[in-house]
Amino acid sequence: MENILLKDKVAGLDGYFAAGGYKPLKKALGMTPADLIEEVKKSGLRGRGGAGFPTGLKWSFIPKDGQGPRYIVCNADEGEPGTFKDREVILKNPHALIEGMAIAGYAIGASRGYIYIRGEFAAEARLLEEAIADARGRGLIGANLLGSGFDFELSVHRGAGAYICGEETALLESLEGFKGQPRLKPPFPAVKGLFASPTVINNVETLAAVPTIIEKGGAWYAAIGTPKSAGTKLFCVSGPVNKPGVYELPLGVAFRELLEKHCGGLKEGKKLKAVIPGGSSVPVLTAAEAMAVALDYEALAAAGSMLGSGAVIIIDETQCMVKLLQVLARFYHHESCGQCTPCREGCGWIEKILDRLEEGRGSAADIDLLCSVADGMKGRTICPLADAMAMPVLSFVKKFRAEFEAHAAGRCCPPEPAGKH
């Protein structure tokens, strides 16, 4: 199958043109916004940032009448542990994102777009700024796009190091120059988003798929993948495999195929123990569960996990699950924005309990306490960060309880290197 998102020789504007780039924009500007939204709905494209919400439907929530500005915002705050796909799109195919934003802007009546990119991606932000300047030079960004009468301004806004800003309302707060603390919903961003105006926020990978969908039609895209999980997805594989990296494959591909055919299997001598299939926030799968699962929204939900961002983290037998969960707990505790008590306190408690277990100071009761704290966090906060901590905790303990019990009984792993040889 031909790649839609990851292509060679399209990083520059000339290469992108040579591959047919910006023809979709021209086509889109000749359509009505309603027809455009209908085409995206027909494609079955779903949000690639993690939630999997239907993109066309999200666009259709923007009020049709009503005065004042609207905004299209690209979420390039890639920070879900294990995820490194948006960076690849930005490096290899930045104009697909820019063109996708212009098309999305036209569809929802937004003449202003912002790309919110994580602060650490300094080189990627510069590259995007250059690509936007190139596009502007050819009349593809700015006033009166391709003589259509539609104006579209686009700029890059760098974040400053906060995982929570990947949550769309926290992103909006950050883009407005505040702490990135998620907002209560409703009102949803489609009604009251950036600067209190109707706003659509889409992930890099989602927006970069739009030009091809417009060019080839929604039905063409919907035929890829499975009936409910249409299109291709970027799977980013990390861990001890021979060829870690980003792979563009149709949704519904078997995990086994991704691992063995595309990633060249596990490194020599390594044995598969567990897989986190959609970024660190989703429930872990055992090796047996993973080897039987297909990678799409429905199949992973049926297996008790989620497709999430498509970040496939491979864990081998030499890894300690208690230690890995401690690493994740430290992360969520560090990244909790602090506004909801269950998350702010819960993530801290979980980290402390795991510290005890990991260092051999824990007890069997600590294992139940871990689960009790996690249960108390789920669904009780403004945004899903608390759930993102609770899900790994509950699944790690459920599926690898023996390792937690061994730690509680004092059989601990060797300590981390201390720095003296």
């Binding site: 650490e120 906060a162 990390s238 560090h334 040889h421």
Partner: protein, 166 residues
């Protein structure tokens, strides 16, 4: 100590602010610009910026303390930021951190006496396929091992790598 915003900064600030319907939305980019000057956000710099933008000092301070990329104390010419999250952890990040602590004789959060290096561990840098990863100032160094790390340190010691302006 008094801190004065340069005219050059003010010109840049006005241009940045024009990119948003509400000028205060430029606060984070402005702080990034301001941090370039000394590598960290001094109290008096935050004060001067708040006054220039007509924002409460508390708003500026709240933003600076919320985001990890704003340094609140001086950092070395090279700020070594080792990813400690799951993929880098499995790929040997704890060993790299230990090696850096030993070779530089500092703990995380500290700066070497010569002002050359600051050591930090950070959360996921979004380059997990190339784990373990370290960010030095704004640049990523990927697929690290002990040899590569030692070579990098040598390059930095001899000024062969772009350092932070100081």
């Amino acid at each position: 100590m008094a801190f004065t915003l340069t005219n050059e900064f003010k010109a840049k600030a006005d241009k940045l602010r024009a990119g948003y319907p509400r000028p205060d939305a430029a606060l984070i980019p402005l702080l990034q610009e301001l941090q370039k000057d000394r590598g960290f956000m001094a109290e008096e710099a935050m004060d001067a910026l708040a006054a220039y933008l007509g924002l409460p000092y508390a708003r500026v301070k709240a933003v600076v303390t919320f985001y990890t990329m704003f340094n609140r104390a001086p950092v070395g010419k090279y700020h070594l930021q080792v990813c400690r999250n799951i993929s880098c952890h499995m790929a040997g990040a704890p060993g790299l951190l230990a090696r850096l602590r030993e070779k530089l004789a500092i703990e995380e959060g500290e700066t070497t006496k010569d002002g050359l290096f600051t050591l930090s561990s950070v959360e996921c840098l979004g380059a997990c396929g190339a784990a373990p990863v370290m960010q030095v100032n704004e640049d990523y160094f990927e697929k690290l091992d002990e040899k590569k790390l030692d070579d990098l340190l040598e390059d930095m010691r001899h000024g062969r790598l772009r350092g932070m302006a100081r």
